[in-house]
């Protein structure tokens, strides 16, 4: 039975999905190019939300401009973190990446608690505003538009620029691209910065639409990974479809079954996919 509430829930799902798309795409890029698994990626989202919040409330900047500030700040933080930690364990035991991620989660989450406290926040938004008599622009609508803009820009960057080419080459075969004169270090730094920036954008958007606190980073990371697995490694359209599907499935499950099933549904989906195809629905061989 299609009720107005169900449609509403679906729309909340689309909003959640948009944020998942950004997060998953960032993760996709990092994982694809660097073969790096960072479970603390969601923490960058959380930091992005807080930075956007601080900039908006302290300086009075329009929250939608704060997104850009958040992206830049998180990109810098992301690269700094990567240089200090992951750089040193890349190439060693695969489990070490998991350990580093865990340490980073503790550090980020508690740093956020110290700096901003545990209380729930939300970034105040000037919306909704009405355009004439025709329609009302609210945060969710704008979020969808922003995500489209970001994805299109990303697509152009990957396809049309030199660095994009270098990234794509590295993701295929990093040894070969090194031989061809690609500066791997530079590519890695740029890739991580890009992925982090996307997480920062996701965080800023999240903070406008939903309330947040320092603990929101943990679960979205795993859901973002799940989306990559389902949508296919390296595929942006896959991440879009996967992200939307995930967001909608989650909110629909909550609407129909109750909020206690939110996360369980997300993981059940992931587990089912992984059991059927350990490399993901469209995954490449060996990963």
């Amino acid at each position: 039975m299609i009720t107005s509430g169900l449609i509403q829930a679906l729309l909340w799902g689309v909003a959640t999905g948009c944020i998942y798309i950004l997060l998953a795409t960032g993760l996709n890029i990092i994982f694809g190019v660097m073969k790096l698994v960072n479970f603390a990626h969601g923490q960058l989202l959380m930091i992005g939300a807080y930075i956007a919040f601080t900039v908006t409330t302290a300086v009075g900047l329009n929250p939608y401009l704060s997104i850009l500030v958040a992206m830049a700040a998180v990109a810098v933080i992301g690269v700094g973190v990567e240089r200090l930690t992951f750089r040193n364990v890349l190439g060693t035991d695969k489990l070490n990446e998991i350990f580093v991620s865990l340490g980073l989660i503790y550090v980020f989450e508690n740093a956020a608690v110290l700096l901003w406290g545990n209380t729930v926040r939300q970034i105040p938004s000037p919306l909704p505003i009405s355009i004439g008599q025709i329609m009302e622009v609210n945060d969710r609508l704008l979020a969808i538009v922003i995500v489209i803009i970001i994805l299109v820009s990303l697509f152009l960057l990957l396809k049309k620029t030199k660095i994009g080419l270098a990234m794509r080459a590295t993701s295929q075969k990093s040894n070969a691209s090194m031989l061809m004169g690609v500066n791997i270090e530079k590519v890695y730094i740029f890739t991580f910065a890009l992925g982090a920036a996307l997480a920062g954008a996701a965080g800023a958007l999240y903070g406008i639409i939903f309330p947040f606190n320092p603990s929101i980073g943990a679960l979205p990371t795993i859901k973002a990974f799940a989306i990559i697995i389902i949508g296919g490694l390296g595929s942006i359209p896959g991440a879009v479809v996967g992200g939307l599907l995930y967001g909608i499935a989650e909110e629909t499950a909550v609407y129909l079954l109750g909020a206690t099933w939110r996360d369980a549904t997300a993981f059940a989906l992931l587990i089912i996919v992984l059991v059927i195809r350990p490399t993901g629905l469209f995954g490449e061989k060996g990963e």
Binding site: L6, V120, F210, F212, N213, E251, A259, T260
Partner: protein, 462 residues
Amino acid sequence: MQKSLIVIIVVAIVVVAGVVAAWQLTQVPSAEARKIKIGLVAGYDLAEGQDMDRAAKLAVQEINDAGGVYVSEWHTSVEVELVPINTVNDSPQNSVGPVTQAVEETQVDLLIGGYTSSGTLANQKVAIDNRVPYIITGASSSLVTRRGPQAEYGGLAEGSEYRVDDAEGMSYMFHYCTTTADYSATVVRFFAEEMKPLLDTTYEFDTSRNLRLAILYRDDAFGKGVAADSKAIIEDENLPIDVVIERSYPADTISFLTDLTAIKDAQPDAVYVVDFIANTGQIIRQGQADVELNTVYIAVECCEDPAFYTLLAEYGHEQLLESKFAPYAGPPYYLSSLDTYVTNYQAAYSTLPGMMGADTYDAFYIAADAIERAGTVDKAAVRDAIESCALDQMLIMTETGKIEFSTGTDYHEIAPVTFVEQLIYNIDAGECRSVIVYPESAAGVSIKQDDFVLPTAYTPGS
């Protein structure tokens, strides 16, 4: 080579043993100055816990300033020492350890506090086993005093893990708080007696139309208890209320958009929100701002705290709060003891007091009075004295006007009075103040301050 190794190992063992023994010896407390040690079981990470701490300190200060407690066994008046027992967030795993330490190491004479039901049910086991009087000022589950044989295990099924077979130990438990049944009764009766007639007249409904109630609660003992009790009372008293929808969510949820959307679908006349301050405030905000569920929300008494009013800001306007202590409904207050307390609390802490603190404040006076009447800190005697308490009501109103722990039963509860307040936004304060709208009077005292009005943007259910 082996020999020197063995020598090293033996030496190491001896050294370790010696160090540990020496350290142990220094842990023995010196001959103590006689004081009455009362442990306060509170979650200091929570606004409610901090309120309890402030109220406790105020009470202890007042008691000591007035000369302390006269213990006839020692032929002298002694001071009360507050022993903070920080349960962080008052969850079971965080509260059992600290309470154990307070009882076994610090050897408190008495315990006051407890906030969440699940935490208290867990940590009270320590007090039960060790026969320490525990005045429980929180925990809305009546099981805290009824889980033993003397109350037929509170109706718990045989083999239920919550049962306690230790009647003697259970006799040390005192519940100075309302139970989920107490305040659910007030809430549903308010809806039946006050709100439904108003709806019927305002919207010209047929009197046979039942009030449509939605219950939104956190998924734990507290939330489930309130939901269950509310439904039971509606049925038992044949109230004209239909529970059109109930939804629960994990306790750590911070966003309730989909739940509120589902509730909006069910078209309720009112929403009963069962959660603590942070989440209730969020629900009432999101409901109005994001989901446009323009109904009337009623919050549970544990939200009676300055943090709640600040969090709600203008979104609390014309919403409801069930309570038993109303620091925002005055001055002048419905009870003169409030005037004094609020003034003193504000002077000391620059903020208004909350409800949990009020319970705690009273409890310290109950304890002091009991020890004085017992003439000793012997726990069994103190327990007997608390049982025979006959103090006049203090900050919490009771049905008889006196603080009595269940005369005629073997388990110890009080009969508190609860009421419903409506919040009114005050521009100068930047947040809401409240007025009592139900019931008319309690314990012979008239307490109603104003009539209940429907919120301006209110839309009824179908």
